[in-house]
Amino acid sequence: MNGEVLAFWVLAVGLVGSALNVVLSKNLFHSVLWLAAALVGTAGIFIALDAEFLGAVQVLLYAGGVITVVVFAIVVTERLVGERLSQTSRRILGGAVVAVGVLAMVLNVIRRSGIDMPRPEMTADITKWMGISLLTQFLLPFELLGVLLLAGLLAATYFARPEE
C-alpha cells in the first residue's frame, strides 16, 4: 500500500464521515463546521490528484470564504430571532431511497464503464497552463465570471440590506 492509496482511504473515510454529519447533525452550526471539514478533505483529494493550486483555492475560497459567510448568516439570523437555530429532517425514508437509488445507478455505471485508464505522468506545470489558458482560450468565460460575480454580489447586498 503506497502513500497515495493510504492518503485516499484516510481522506475518503474522513470525507464521507463529515459529509454524513453535515446532513445528519441536529445543530446547524455543527453542520457548517462539518462542511468545513469536508471541504478541507476535498482539498486533500485535489492535492492527491496533483492539483495543488485547486487545493489551495478550495481551502481559501471555500473553507475560508464560504464557511465564513454561512456562519455569519447564521449568527445574523440567530441574533434577529434571539434563539438557537434548530434543524431537523423530514422525508428521511424518501430521501434515503432516492439518494441510495441514485448512488446505486451511478456506481453501477462506474463499475461497468471500464474507464480505469492508467494515471499518466504529469508532464507540464498545470497551474501555469491553467493561468495561461484562462487568459487565452477561456478568456470569455473568465470575463463572464466577472460579470456573474458582480451580479451575484449586487443581488446579495440588495436582499440582505435592511430596507432603506
Binding site: 485516499f8 464560504v66 447564521i74 430571532v81 437555530l85 434543524q87 462506474i110 474507464i115 468565460p141 451580479a151
Partner: protein, 99 residues
Amino acid sequence: MPLSAYLSLAAVLFSIGLFGVITRRNTVGILLGVELMLNAVNINFVAFSRFHGTALGMIFTLFAICITVAEIALGLALVILLFRMRRTSTADHIDWLKG
C-alpha cells in the same frame, strides 16, 4: 488509486448531499447539502482531468467554485431576507404560495 475509486467517492458524496437537500428542513441546511453535491462534482472533474492528462477539468472546477461562491452568497442573502419578513428559516413554513 484507480479512477473509479475517485468517481465512487464523488458519487457517495453526491448522494449524501442529495439526501441532505431532500431531508433538511432548514433552508441553510439545504444550502449545505448543495455545497456537498457541488463538492462531489468538483472531485469528479479533477479526477477525470488528472486521468485524461488534461487540465480542462481543473479549469472547470475553478469556474464551478467561483460560481458556487456567488450562489451561496445570494442564497444566504435570500435566507436573511425571508427571516426578516417571516421570522423563520424553516423551509416548510415558507409555504404561502401553493396550489
